[in-house]
């Protein structure tokens, strides 16, 4: 049984931030959860899907984030509580519906959870979702510790119902993926009844139509909701102050930065000199509360990650209230005390205190990281940013790269989001030359595929994973076919949403709750759209390469599906197809004209250069037994034998 459905109140459990959010939703009686996998958000849906049966929930991995929000919103319209978690980039995808939804309002409590990724630890950008709350005019909550992650999520449903609009909860990687102690509250009744009422007066929020029209009526209504939220925030227990009555420095912060600030204050012994105003409700800001604390200090430091969202809001408020609270000196990102990019930590915050207050503090010196890396280099093996042993992407890129080199017209790959983003790097032989949002690979390739008229004869290949294909590549494929773009799409079909942990997608026969589901056939979809489709096994390098060279030359939209299951897939159960070994008499090592092709270029971690013997060998512990390297050795020294 999942610890998340432990009904005992007052129990203290060590929870990951995302588990705390899931527990908060369960304590709020959530009935529907829909999202799309994306680090660092995926564990919320995963945990809810595990308890779906016990707690009578409907949980789905939707095709993309916009659809997940629509699915969750439908539940809200039918008076159920619903949650919709996604990573920061997902909010961009969902934002079109989100703007309309914010205008139409909601019924059952509806909470959008965005897990941002400052420092882009597992993202292609460190985009900020907080701005969406201001942009679409909905309340924004940011938990400052693990208990709050649970409590605030639960409260977000209540707030949503009170103001009749969607509420956004924003977490970050270090909140979602770190763990802390959480005291449980109780779990409500399992049963709930869904009804969509629409036969009341047209504009009635409980029984009319759900629409942002007429805008002239609904927009002021929506802004009234935000005003109401602001009043509620004035008394929110999630906004706390710690410190002296008249601090030398007022620190305003939110989210996980709260923990960094507390640590820095403790580190420098500043609890009697620095006041810490931790805000849980960061949009709209509680005016009276801010006024109260801004009045007592002249110096104000705003501590937050990435873009100065809180800083700008506070400065606007301070400017408007300057007559009453006086003129302040602000420290933060604009003035340069806090970095504009990347994650923060206690060290960076302590350095900021030291600079502003003239306190001696020796931060981690610049050379520390370098020294620690070199120390690690002599003790630990080097770790490339690379594909796993036996990863089908390495084989796929090997063939794509070779096909494009052979074609010799400076062909290139428009990449996409997934493990195969590594195609930008030596792991993928640097085949990928553009890399943007999900589905953008094919969209860009479609555009490039129209530039023939301007003398561009470079072949264009787009790649996308099976899950990405459904998420956002479909409209681009329609566009490419309809406009006769000359483009080749390679679908890396590895049988799941591998990068985020094998969540199912519409191409599979199972759904998030483990039930059987009809699977959609990528090849048949592409064919129906009018593309020419071929399917190959990427482990057959030569067949893949020759097919690709042929398709590249052909007019129109071609789709090559490279199907091979992910090396880490639970379906594989760690079974090796081949036992691999290097025949020492054949491997000539440095004397071979191959110049260490297998360990210098192919670079599967399962292949090791034995510096002592000056030959290659197989690392049997991590070799996945895919057999591909046997086909790249020009001396036929890598031997593949069927595993017993």
């Amino acid at each position: 049984m999942s610890k998340l459905i432990e009904s005992k109140e007052g129990l203290r459990v060590l929870l990951m931030g995302n588990e705390a959010i899931a527990r908060g939703a369960l304590e709020a009686g959530v009935k529907v959860a829909a999202g799309y996998p994306g680090t660092p958000s995926s564990e919320i849906i995963e945990n809810l899907s595990r308890v779906a049966k016990d707690r009578n929930l409907y949980v789905e991995w939707s095709t993309n984030e916009k659809i997940s929000l629509e699915v969750a919103a439908a539940a809200s319209f039918a008076e159920l509580r619903a949650i919709c978690p996604m990573k920061q980039n997902g909010v961009n995808v969902a934002s079109d519906f989100l703007l309309h939804l914010a205008g139409s309002g909601t019924r059952g409590g509806l909470v959008l959870v965005s897990c941002d990724d400052p420092g882009a630890l597992s993202s292609a950008n460190e985009g900020e979702s907080r701005h969406f709350a201001r942009m679409v005019e909905i309340p924004l909550l940011e938990p400052g510790d693990f208990q709050e992650a649970k409590d605030m999520t639960k409260w977000a449903f209540e707030l949503s119902e009170e103001i009749r609009n969607i509420v956004m909860v924003r977490s970050v990687t270090r909140m979602s993926h770190a763990s802390g102690n959480v005291w449980f509250g109780g779990l409500p009744e399992r049963d709930a009844k869904a009804t969509f009422r629409f036969d009341g007066p047209l504009l009635d929020p409980e029984s009319g139509s759900v629409s942002s029209l007429p805008v002239g009526y609904s927009h002021p209504v929506q802004q009234g909701k935000i005003k109401k939220a602001q009043e509620i925030f004035e008394k929110s227990p999630f906004n706390t102050y710690q410190g002296p009555k008249k601090p030398e420095l007022l620190v305003i912060t939110s989210s996980v930065c709260n923990l960094y600030c507390r640590e820095a204050i403790h580190l420098l012994g500043l609890k009697d000199r620095v006041g810490l105003l931790k805000l849980g409700t960061t949009w709209p800001l509680p005016l009276k509360l801010l006024k109260k604390y801004l009045s007592v200090a002249d110096k104000v430091l705003i501590v937050e990650e990435v873009i100065p969202f809180l800083e700008e809001s506070v400065k606007i408020l301070a400017a408007e209230q300057a007559k009453e609270i006086g003129v302040k000196t602000f420290y933060g990102k604009k003035e340069g005390t806090i970095p504009m990019t990347g994650e923060l930590n206690a060290d960076l915050v302590a350095s900021a205190f030291s600079r502003i207050m003239g306190i001696p503090y020796t931060p981690m010196e610049a050379g520390y990281e370098k020294r620690s890396k070199s120390a690690a280099g002599s003790m630990a093996p080097g770790r490339d940013l690379t594909f796993c042993p036996g990863c089908p992407h390495r084989a796929s890129y090997w063939s794509i790269h070779k096909a494009l080199q052979m074609d010799n017209r400076k062909g290139f790959v428009c990449g996409d989001i997934g493990c195969y983003s590594l195609g930008l790097y030596p792991a993928g032989f640097r085949a990928v030359k553009t890399h943007h949002a999900m589905g953008s690979g094919l969209g860009l390739a479609t555009g490039f595929g129209q530039l023939n008229a301007f003398g561009m004869d470079q072949p264009v290949v787009a790649v996308c994973g099976d899950s990405t294909f459904f998420h956002a590549a479909l409209p681009a494929l329609v566009n490419a076919v309809h406009h006769r773009a000359k483009v080749t799409l390679v679908v890396f079909d590895n049988g799941g949403t591998a990068m985020t942990g094998f969540q199912p997608h519409p191409g599979l026969t199972v759904n998030a709750m483990g039930q059987e589901a009809p699977s959609l056939n990528i090849a048949r979809i592409c064919e129906a759209m009018g593309a020419k489709v071929e399917t190959r096994d990427p482990f057959d390098l030569e067949e893949t390469r020759t097919t690709l060279n042929r398709l590249i030359e052909e007019e129109g939209v071609k789709v090559l599906i490279l199907r091979q299951i992910c090396a880490l897939s639970p379906e594989k159960k760690g079974k090796k197809r081949y036992t691999m070994r290097v025949e020492e008499t054949r491997c000539l090592g440095e004397a071979c004209s191959c110049n260490r092709l297998c360990t210098r270029i192919f670079r599967c971690p399962g292949l090791v250069w034995d510096a002592g013997r000056k030959k290659s060998r197989i690392d049997e512990v991590i070799c996945a037994g895919c057999g591909v390297c046997a086909d790249i050795c020009p001396a036929s020294a890598i031997i593949r034998e069927e595993a017993a």
């Binding site: 010799n408 092709l597 790249i632």
Partner: protein, 380 residues
């Protein structure tokens, strides 16, 4: 001329990116880093070796042609106009069927047949027709296989790549049909500049050179021909004497004459920098004949330049075995050929100096070469 052997990086910069690559295949199949595709040589992955066979053997990396000639030929046979020459003939295959299946007089087919029959070689590397006019280097051991592949290809066949593949296996006696650039590549291999490959070249027993004005770029040629005919209809091609100014394409439906004005843009750019018309680095070289009776007669004959003792031996054997027949060399023929050969050298040097804007800089050729240097306008 000082020759520094370098690696793939320099080869890529000085030859491929400079558009000097002839597609000969000399850098292919030595290692996994270069490949032939269509009629181009491509780099698959970067190689960081400082010195490579790829650079050492390339006919378009700096070469001291004069030193090479003195090393490989009898010095007294050397002519400034067309390299070593022991003798000059007008010849053709005695067998009319060989002539019909071959190009012009079918002399190359007859010579390769003799070489195989007499055991001078056990493997012949020749150009196979391939698909869509894209020839491939092919190793054959049977004279019947040679006879099936006697036609000239107007696109480069990477025969040296096939040589590299075979020579790696070892233990063979190899004869090869080579264009001038390919002959030069093999000559550079014979100097054994790279220890790892030194033994392989000893398997080379015979080089039959082909006269070559230029090769065509496959992509361009095919694009042009597709406008005019179905590629599967094409049975052969030829270039009659210059006064016709055409490329003749023989199809199942008859002959198609294409003006050289249309063909010139299809010429492989690298060929405009080649100083060798008559495949000077070969044992024996063969081209189409020019006769006073006119093209209808001349097209059934070949001009043959014997350059080495091995070449002479082969020609004599072919004569003795009745595989080749000869006719008198018309007066002035050799002089005309020498003029044509010098004309190609002048064009190459002119084109190179137009690029470098410096008579001292002929890229891969030596501006102090006794034949080419003076053509660059340098006088001592």
């Amino acid at each position: 001329m000082k020759i520094n052997i370098m690696g793939q990086k320099e080869l890529n910069k000085e030859v491929r990116e400079a558009k000097f690559c002839t597609g000969c295949g000399a850098c292919v199949n030595l290692c996994p880093y270069q490949a032939s595709y269509q009629d181009e040589v491509v780099m698959l992955h970067p190689c960081d070796l400082k010195e490579g066979g790829c650079y050492a053997f390339c006919p378009r990396t700096p070469t001291d042609l004069e030193a090479l000639k003195r090393r490989l030929f009898d010095v007294k046979d050397l002519t400034p106009e067309m390299g070593a020459m022991k003798d000059f003939y007008i010849a053709r295959a005695a067998d009319a069927e060989i002539r019909a299946k071959g190009q012009h007089g079918g002399t190359v087919t007859a010579l390769m047949t003799v070489a195989l029959q007499e055991g001078i070689i056990d493997t012949a590397i020749i150009a196979d027709e391939g698909r869509n006019l894209l020839p491939q280097g092919m190793a054959v051991r049977d004279t019947d296989e040679v006879r099936k592949r006697g036609k000239s290809r107007f696109v480069v066949s990477p025969n040296i790549a096939e040589f590299n593949r075979l020579a790696k296996e070892g233990g063979k006696k190899i004869g090869i049909v080579a264009t001038p650039c390919q002959g030069l590549a093999l000559a550079k291999m014979r100097l054994k500049p790279i220890a790892a490959y030194a033994d392989r070249i000893d398997q080379l027993k015979l080089v039959i050179g082909l006269f070559c004005g230029w090769a065509l770029s496959w992509r361009n040629l095919v694009a042009l021909l597709r406008q005019k005919t179905d590629l599967t209809e094409i049975e052969g091609m030829d270039i009659p004497p210059s006064k016709y100014h055409i490329l003749q394409v023989y199809t199942k439906k008859g002959s198609l004459d294409i003006s050289l004005d249309e063909i010139n843009p299809c010429v492989r750019g690298a060929c405009w920098y080649c100083p060798d018309l008559t495949a000077e680095f070969s044992d024996i070289s063969v081209g189409s004949a020019r006769l006073s009776e006119g093209w209808e007669e001349a097209r059934n004959w070949n001009q043959v330049v014997v350059r080495t003792a091995r070449g002479q031996q082969l020609l004599n054997l072919a004569k003795e075995r009745g595989l080749l027949e000869f006719r008198e060399v018309p007066g002035g023929n050799l002089k005309k050929l020498k003029t044509a050969s010098m004309s190609k050298k002048k064009t190459a040097v002119k084109n190179l100096t137009l690029r470098s804007r410096d008579p001292e800089n002929l890229f891969y050729l030596d501006s102090k070469d006794p034949v080419l240097g003076p053509l660059a306008g340098r006088h001592e």
